[in-house]
């Protein structure tokens, strides 16, 4: 199944692949600085005569290697298989989410993880994939009747599929992931098209429901949104993250303070600088030039993925790629927006850069699926 068809290689998207590898490698450089720990030293690199002192970077390197293997697995899975088992994936992820609600491990006040002995599993990550394939299948199977845009009635079933996992994740509480789940689903729907009337109605409904929704938010979540509007009001409390992050980003100026010279990072004024606020580290140490370069790389990646979507064989494959693309896109915008004070502080990592195994592994797996779609674009096999 893996190495059979030479035709697969003819449509291998080298552009997509190189970006998929380059971005995490750049991320490793940033992470080395962000996770620098003078106490930490790795022996096996001793022959290089380079002192390697960043546990976060080291572990992320290991995750990256694992992730690349996982990407090959993603490439190998035929698109048709995903189509066939989409509901199964969705159902399995949903069961895990219910299990989390039941026996999840509480960390930092939220119940997001399942302890499976060796490591902690975050079923929300599975749900992302589950939702993407399910939505792609639902939408591909019943395209808009007028061949232009969906009506409200046609959207009831997909909406149902989005809201159930979203609700389960939101109550963990993990508002960021819940929102990104919704964004992915909505992006897929929007890609196909919605009638303007429906969009208008939904916007109206959201406005009406905003008040009770606001009240149902946890206090810390409310504060995060309020702080976004006026971060200086509480610089020591909730505004600390945003204030320190803005100082880090702004103080980078045009060319940055230089590798490992970021005071905000190295002196730990910046919280969570290996995970959610890793972009601040990049901004502080590499400046506007570094940031623009990184955003440009992301844009190239998104463009490459959209090109795959465009060239894909059928609507399911296209929507599958669009779903994965929108997920990455949403994470980039939300994370960088948060770091530079345009969005509230929600726990969304920066794709391919932030330290964290599950995020990197699931992203590389997703990118493998996209590569797989690209490779099979002229294949008419019915596996």
């Amino acid at each position: 199944m893996l190495t059979i068809d030479r035709r697969l290689l003819t449509h291998f998207d080298w552009m997509l692949f190189s970006l998929t590898v380059c971005i995490p490698l750049v991320g490793l450089i940033v992470l080395y600085s962000a996770g620098y720990d003078p106490e930490f030293a790795v022996d096996f690199l001793g022959w290089l005569n380079v002192e390697f002192r960043s546990p976060a970077c080291f572990k992320q390197g290991v995750y990256l290697l694992t992730g690349l293997v996982l990407m090959v697995v993603g490439m190998a899975i035929p698109t048709q298989t995903l189509y066939r088992y989409s509901f199964a994936i969705y159902g399995g992820a949903l069961l895990l989410l219910v299990a989390v609600a039941g026996f999840g491990v509480v960390v930092n006040g939220s119940r997001r993880w399942l302890d499976v002995g060796l490591f902690k599993l975050q079923p929300a990550e599975f749900m992302k994939l589950g939702l993407i394939v399910t939505m792609a299948r639902l939408l591909a199977k019943s395209p808009p009747k007028n061949a232009i845009a969906y009506s409200l009635r046609e959207l009831l079933v997909p909406a149902f599929f989005i809201l159930i996992p979203m609700g389960l994740i939101a109550q963990q509480p993990d508002l960021g992931t819940a929102l990104s789940l919704a964004i992915v689903g909505v992006c897929q729907i929007l890609f196909v098209g919605i009638r303007p009337k429906v969009i208008f109605g939904v916007v109206l409904a959201v406005c009406v429901l905003a008040y009770p929704a606001w009240n149902s938010l946890h206090e810390y979540q409310q504060r995060r949104v309020m702080v976004l509007l006026d971060p200086e009001a509480d610089p020591q409390g909730s505004g600390y993250h945003i204030t320190q992050s803005k100082i880090a980003v702004g103080s980078g100026e045009l060319f940055g303070k230089g590798f490992q010279k970021g005071t905000q990072t190295q002196l730990e004024f910046l919280p969570e600088h290996t995970t959610d606020f890793v972009f601040s580290v990049l901004a502080e140490e590499w400046g506007f030039v570094g940031c623009t370069f990184m955003i440009a790389m992301f844009f190239c990646l998104l463009a490459a993925m959209l090109r795959v979507a465009h060239r894909s064989r059928d609507l399911f494959a296209c929507l599958l790629v669009v779903g994965i693309t929108s997920q990455i896109f949403a994470h980039i915008v939300i994370n960088i927006g948060m770091v530079i004070g345009l969005m509230p502080v929600v726990g969304i990592p920066l794709p391919l850069i932030s330290y964290g195994g599950s995020s990197l592994l699931s992203l590389l797996f997703g990118l493998g699926i996209v590569q797989g779609v690209s490779m099979r674009r002229t294949l008419f096999t019915s596996v």
Partner: protein, 628 residues
């Protein structure tokens, strides 16, 4: 899955829209980054610098104040201050209340003190409590976890090895007041600095203070120090050596215990002040910690004026001590000579008024010598009348320096006053009061009336009489030596002579003879100052018993007792001026104090004879008391 579906929807358009959306959103991000990093970049760069650097000021130890033999009178010791970093304290009121509870202070008072807004750098600790005990340090350290922002700092504090010895002279230091902070004199100071508030501590502040050190410390987000950006070490204050002799000072201080008054001991040849004592004294150590309201009201009680240095700041009528200088004037002006005798019937009729002599039965026929020895008022009324007030003013003020500032190390002092017709004309506004009446001259001639002087001025003037007419500028600072050994000021060389008094040395010799008579003559008013005969050391002097308020006012206040003495007779080296406020007769209250100092200075032991309890001697002392 039918491929036809794909063609139904125009995916190309949709992909382009999606790409455009991505581009737009990312462009917004880049725009925002441009704003933060390029437009406001330098602002945030400053903020990040402020984040990591904290400035720490290090208090420099003040200079040590020594006596003339190098014995430290005021030194330094480490002390613990409870400090508070306001930025690290989320609930200031609660934390202050917790600290107050541990230290046994009033929470509201403490909070009021802490919340007083003063100029301060970010993260600069504010001193909450000064010089706390080890118990409080222990209690606070043990409770650190619930006292966010509270730190215990070590800073040098003043140590007084001899308690209140020479308290008025050395003075005290206290936290700079808000008024002082505003004044130009204290332009380089910061709130919380300790500043000399009186005495040498204040007048030599510029030498003693040293220079505070500055340390820029790199801290991490938790405020822990992780390195130093730069350090400018503190420079300890310069050490001061006074002319004070600690042993003489101790004798003077002890002699005044329980009294109000002052003692000045001065070297007549070079102007060195060997002792300068004022009573009642205060404990300068009180000011290193927090002063309670009771302690403060005790210190500022107007009944005792504990903080006032009477030797310099007290202006008193000199009484009969002044007669020496009137006599000098009379002999110089030739209004009398050493042979003229005046009859003292116990009073002098002047116009309608009768001016009494202190000895109501009268001294009989007295010459100048007798008049000084027995302190006859009538004699001095007579020669004072002949001199007139302006000639007395000229000799007392322009020659002997009464009513003229002494300028002792720049310490605060009273100027005193010797009246004159000019003074009266300018002092009173009412035309009737401006005229000087001849009858007013009489009290001036015996050191009463408007005459007032400080013990220091008396010492300076008497020194001029016994050293051959040199009015020497008294000095109390011998040397100022910087921490690195540089001598900043050295006054131990030639004395500074304000002027040489133009009086025939024979006249001064005669006055000296009379003053020896005051102590040595059996009828002398200052006999209580005489040293034991075995010592062979002769001292002279003049008593003074100054009326405080007129008898008519009905207030019965004891007179001020004065004794101004010198020794040894042959070649005087020392003057001692003792004043006991409301002490009664000078011969009884002040002369014994001077005697104690002479004994210490000349190293004379009290003879172990039963003479002390000899009934004859006792009765003579009592006679003296009745007489004067």
């Amino acid at each position: 899955m039918p491929r036809s579906e794909r063609n139904q929807l125009n995916l190309g358009v949709r992909v382009i829209w999606a790409g455009a959306l991505c581009a737009c959103c990312l462009a917004i991000l880049v725009g925002r980054l441009w704003y933060l990093q390029i437009v406001k970049g330098s602002f945030f760069r400053d903020r990040s610098e402020n984040n990591r650097l904290r400035t720490i000021f290090i208090t420099a130890p003040r200079g040590v104040i020594h006596d003339r033999n190098g014995e430290p009178l005021v030194s330094n010791r480490p002390s613990f201050n409870v400090e508070l970093v306001v930025e690290d304290t989320p609930d200031l009121k609660k934390t202050v209340a917790d600290v107050a509870e541990l230290a046994g202070e009033n929470p509201d008072e403490l909070y009021e003190r802490v919340s007083k807004q003063t100029k301060r750098r970010r993260f600069e600790p504010k001193i909450v409590l000064r010089d706390v005990s080890r118990d409080v340090v222990g209690a606070i350290s043990a409770q650190r976890h619930r006292l966010p922002g509270v730190v215990v700092g070590v800073a040098p504090a003043r140590q007084y090895p001899f308690g209140d010895l020479a308290a008025h002279l050395v003075g005290y230091i206290r936290e700079i007041s808000s008024d002082q902070l505003k004044s130009v004199t204290y332009s380089g100071y910061r709130s919380g600095d300790m500043v000399g508030q009186s005495g040498i501590e204040s007048s030599l502040e510029r030498y003693l203070r040293g220079e505070r050190g500055v340390q820029a410390v790199i801290v991490n987000a938790l405020g822990s120090k992780i390195g130093e950006a730069y350090t400018q070490p503190e420079i300890p204050g310069s050490n001061v050596f006074l002319t004070i002799d600690k042993r003489l000072q101790k004798v003077a201080d002890d002699a005044l215990v329980g009294k109000k008054g002052a003692v000045v001991v001065m070297d007549v040849k070079n102007g060195d002040i060997l002792a300068l004592s004022s009573a009642p004294r205060f404990e300068p150590a009180l000011f290193t910690g927090e002063i309670s309201k009771d302690e403060w009201s005790d210190l500022t009680d107007p009944k005792s004026y504990k903080l006032s240095n009477r030797a310099l700041q007290g202006a008193f009528p000199p009484g009969s001590v002044f007669k020496i200088f009137v006599a000098a004037a009379a002999l110089s002006e030739g209004v009398t000579d050493t042979h003229e005798k005046t009859f003292c019937p116990g009073f002098l009729q002047f116009g309608k008024r009768s001016f009494r002599c202190h000895k109501h039965s009268g001294h009989g026929r007295t010459d100048l010598f007798e008049a000084i020895v027995q302190s006859c008022d009538v004699f001095f009324y007579t020669i004072g009348q002949r001199l007139g007030v302006d000639r007395i003013h000229y000799y007392a003020r322009d020659l002997f320096g009464f009513g003229e500032p002494v300028g002792l190390a720049g310490m605060e002092e009273s100027v005193g006053l010797v009246p004159s017709t000019k003074w009266k004309e300018s002092y009173f506004r009412n035309p009737q009061d401006k005229k000087w009446y001849p009858g007013e001259t009489l009290p001036v001639a015996i050191g009463q009336g408007a005459v007032s002087t400080t013990p220091m001025q008396v010492a300076r003037a008497l020194a001029a009489v016994v050293n051959g007419g040199k009015l020497i500028k008294p000095r109390v600072v011998k040397r100022v030596v910087a921490e690195d050994g540089r001598v900043l000021e050295d006054r131990s060389q030639a004395p500074e002579i304000a002027r040489v008094i133009d009086i025939d040395p024979a006249i001064l010799q005669e006055l000296k003879r009379s003053m020896l008579g005051v102590v040595e003559d059996k009828r002398g008013t200052g006999h209580a100052a005489a040293l034991p005969e075995v010592s062979k050391i002769r001292v002279g002097g003049k008593t003074g018993t100054a009326q405080v308020s007129s008898r008519e006012s009905g207030v019965d206040v004891e007179d001020h007792a004065w004794f101004a003495g010198f020794g040894p007779a042959e070649d005087p080296s020392l003057v001692v001026v003792a004043l006991v406020e409301n002490g009664g007769h000078g011969g009884a209250a002040a002369a014994p104090i001077a005697r104690q100092i002479f004994m210490q200075y000349f190293n004379v032991q009290e003879p172990q004879k039963p003479q002390k309890t000899d009934p004859k001697k006792r009765s003579r002392v009592e006679v003296n008391r009745v007489d004067h």
